[in-house]
Amino acid sequence: MTDGDRELARRFPAADDDVIRDVYARFGGAVHTVAISIVREPARAADVVQSTFLNAWRAAATFDPSRELGPWLYTIARRQAIDAYRKERHLTVTDPADLDIVDLPPSLERVWEAFQVRAAVDALDPVEREVMRLAWFEDLTHPDIADRLGIPIGTVKSRSHRAQRRLAVALAHLRTPSAPNQSPVGDVVSDNRASIREGKHE
């Protein structure tokens, strides 16, 4: 847990507007990532984010500040999103025989991973974060990123290098083979070693 996250956890039980704003700024994106990953529709994802923060706010007085706030929010978000997903399926499926006996959205292990990744990128400074987004999501080269952001290519390279080291530090624990279940609800996180990094992201 970073010092900033530790301080947020310490403040959270007070549940005043300022701490809710700070928690939303820190974890709102990651909670939204959980929501959109499961319900896959922006309006319902927004509802899930709202219900997650409202539920968290209502339970703030019972939150143990020695715990990590992020995984606790993830647990609430996951439940809200799964329920929204199931309600939508019950409303749209006309033949009960089409409902799965175990009616769960796919890839809950991936959802936990996505939450952690989003929380990690949101902890980067804004320029580093944008460099990472342009490199990974928009698949731009460093020269293209430099043009897009209007900064020297050397700055792009140094920011990219720094951001990648920070992300690796933040996410390395998710890959530890010897660690027990990583997600807060018992999902076993698989050891993903498949992707090939492209040289353009160095």
Partner: protein, 219 residues
């Protein structure tokens, strides 16, 4: 996290592991602007409203209220403060589960949109340690891993008291719950689906209700 600290030596490998997630649109999508203000406004609205909220808002666990002796079929309820914390299973193991005691009330429960195929019928007896709520449950899916079902009795004002937890892993069948409060003051029976290790214990969101029905005193 210091930006200048030495990172792991396998930075490339670590990030490659998350390449699919880093390339996923969901990872980078932002919630709509104004959502935070909507959350704060909704919370302020709840704070202004009375705690006796309509069914679609979160309700808090209430204290078990002190009750004076009443008609012969009611027990004295002991007064106690219920901490707003993790929901405690209040199942009391007794050899007969009150099956041979006179029937104090009956209940017929219907499934909600979350569990439309679920039903339950039951009877409430008064064997001496509490009110035994014996339900025959059908159509309630086994609780998925990480979740469980919880019964609650609810007052007209929206106060709730937990009456126990169960899982239905064995399929349709009997469930016995126990209430330690006067049921004429908590005349609704509700079953919710809860998440393990969820810190919102002692309360539930109306969206989590799977079964509900009124208690009908035995005439």
């Amino acid at each position: 996290m210091s930006g200048d600290q030495d990172g792991p030596s396998d930075v490339d490998d670590i990030l490659a592991s998350f390449g699919t997630v880093l390339r996923d649109e969901a990872t980078w999508a932002d919630p709509p602007s104004g959502l935070l203000e909507g959350i704060i406004a909704a919370r302020e609205g709840e704070s202004i409203a009375t705690s006796r909220s309509p069914a679609n808002q979160l309700v808090a666990a209430s204290s078990i209220r002190r009750s004076s002796p009443g008609p012969s079929r009611r027990l004295l309820a002991t007064a106690a403060a219920v901490a707003v914390a993790f929901a405690a299973g209040m199942f009391v193991a007794r050899d007969d589960n009150g099956a041979d005691s006179p029937v104090a009330a009956r209940v017929s429960m219907d499934g909600t949109a979350l569990m439309p195929g679920a039903t339950a019928i039951g009877k409430i007896t008064d064997p001496g340690a509490g009110f035994a709520i014996r339900l025959e449950v059908e159509g309630l899916e086994p609780a998925p891993a990480g979740t469980y079902y919880e019964g609650w009795v609810r007052s007209p004002a929206g106060d709730v008291v937990s009456v126990g937890t169960f899982h239905m892993w064995g399929g349709d069948g009997a469930v016995v719950l126990w209430a330690g409060v006067p049921l004429d003051e908590y005349p609704d029976l509700v079953v919710t689906r809860q998440v393990e290790r969820d810190d919102v214990g002692g309360r539930f969101d109306a969206a989590d209700i799977v079964l509900q029905g009124p208690l009908r005193p035995e005439s």
